[in-house]
Symmetry: C2
Subunit: 279 residues, 2 copies
């Protein structure tokens, strides 16, 4: 039975990955900085600060077969230098310590912001050109781990995550803000023009894909975790309204588009599908 | 009068930059980790470890108008993880401290290895794709400094250095090895096939260009410091033999080409010439 450790286990994605791993009957260790949450079947909680791990961190985690590394601070401010000043060295040092202690496989959350300002269908062979400290730091971590692979044998799946929606999302996310506006009884919801194209996947699908990558036992390299289908943000919001039977007026065009994202981009799923098929 | 500080001042390039600055009558502060070398006119030595600078480092340097930052450890092993594990955070922290203390201008030594495995004439607009920890770490430092510019107003000239030759070069360099073989009275000199094309500039020209960038008072951005002319390594060695009147047999093809460099690459000098012209 695959023994999986998960960092960032109390976060939005982490909770879904945890539930998915436990549901599949895997032996799951969940890492948290604070005290362990309520008991769950098939889940063992370990209190550990990724920023100052003890020397025996790998043993504390029960010498797992694979780590799904979701921990990362400083979000959602993509522009903070903290991403490369603090997060990058912290996470690299933590992962290097585990690899040097014998961790055989690693799945790490990357981001579509590594691609930078490139429109269209993005595949993993495209050169990256991040324009935010967040995208830069994630891409740098990937490269550093690839250099680490030259000196240590371990599998790496670098999962470039696109947009997600689902339960437990940050209050700053679009779906959370829409839900809050409806619950407040607002008559209208201010948003951008909404015709930018994005790639949205439900967080339960993301969690299922991450667990599949973790149990693959393969050196997958960089792989997009995405739907492969562009959706307009406006169309997505209208679908959420319809699915939840919410009634609120959309005030389109009230906010500008963010300057660190292209107007229309989505991921190709070809590699992910191929990897998952051959499992 | 421009007040210039120089790190790496006891190194191959540093000594030439120091001499150039002093010859131009500039007010020069030279940084060294160890005790100060013999006195020179127009040069003040400051003992300071870039890896653990005191809080008042900027004052110690006499609050210079510009820093020419040449210090970097771990060379000539381009493949060591040390470049991003140790050098990158060390130099970023040092430069950030000076910028936050008020340093107005910065000239930093980059490298042609930032470009990666791309053949042909390389100009500064080409996307970079380093394949060595050294090239990666230098490119990462550049990007981090550019992000730092979003929060602090300072000029940055990122000088991508190509190949150099001249007095005081490391004993591992081609010219030094050739000279040593001649001085030992060897009959032959083993080298690669020698038909790879490179861009070589004399270190005195490099020093002159770096001082010109430092006194420009401009935010130059990335700029190649190179000759702009491809030369075969064999042709260059034959010219050195001729210039020095050395007599030794070349054993071509004894060593393979390095795997981290393209077979034929050189820099374009267009931007450097334009910047220097408009000074």
């Amino acid at each position: 039975m695959t023994h999986i450790a998960i960092t960032g286990a109390t976060g939005f994605i982490g909770r879904h990955v945890l539930a998915q791993g436990a549901a599949q009957g895997l032996d799951v260790v969940a890492v948290t900085r604070g005290p362990a949450p309520a008991r769950q079947d098939n889940v063992r909680w370990v209190s550990l600060d990724v920023a100052s791990p003890p020397d025996n961190a790998f043993d504390l985690l029960g010498r797992p077969d694979v780590l799904i590394h979701l921990a990362w601070g400083g979000l959602p401010n993509y522009r903070a230098r903290r991403h490369f000043e603090v997060e990058l060295p912290t996470h690299y040092a933590f992962l290097r310590q585990l690899v040097e202690a014998g961790l055989p496989s690693l799945v790490v959350a990357g981001t579509c912001l590594e691609y930078g300002l490139r429109d269209g269908a993005l595949d993993e062979t495209h050169p990256v050109a991040p324009v935010t400290p967040y995208g830069f730091a994630k891409d740098a971590l990937r490269q550093q781990l690839e250099y680490l692979q030259r000196d240590h044998a371990f599998n790496l799946a670098w999962a470039r995550l696109f947009y997600m929606h689902g339960d437990g999302q940050a209050p700053t996310s679009l779906l959370s803000q829409l839900r809050a506006a409806v619950e407040r009884g607002d008559h209208s919801f201010a948003m951008s023009r909404g015709d930018q194209l994005r790639d949205y996947l439900s967080v339960t699908d993301v969690a299922r894909n991450l667990v599949a990558l973790a149990t693959s036992g393969k050196n997958v390299g960089t792989v997009n975790v995405c739907s492969g289908t562009p959706r307009s943000v406006r169309g997505l919001v209208e679908q959420w309204l319809h699915d939840h039977d919410w009634n609120i007026q959309l005030e389109l065009g009230r906010y500008p588009y963010p300057d660190y994202e292209p107007i229309a981009f989505w991921g190709t799923r070809t590699k992910l599908d191929r990897v998952l098929e051959t499992l």
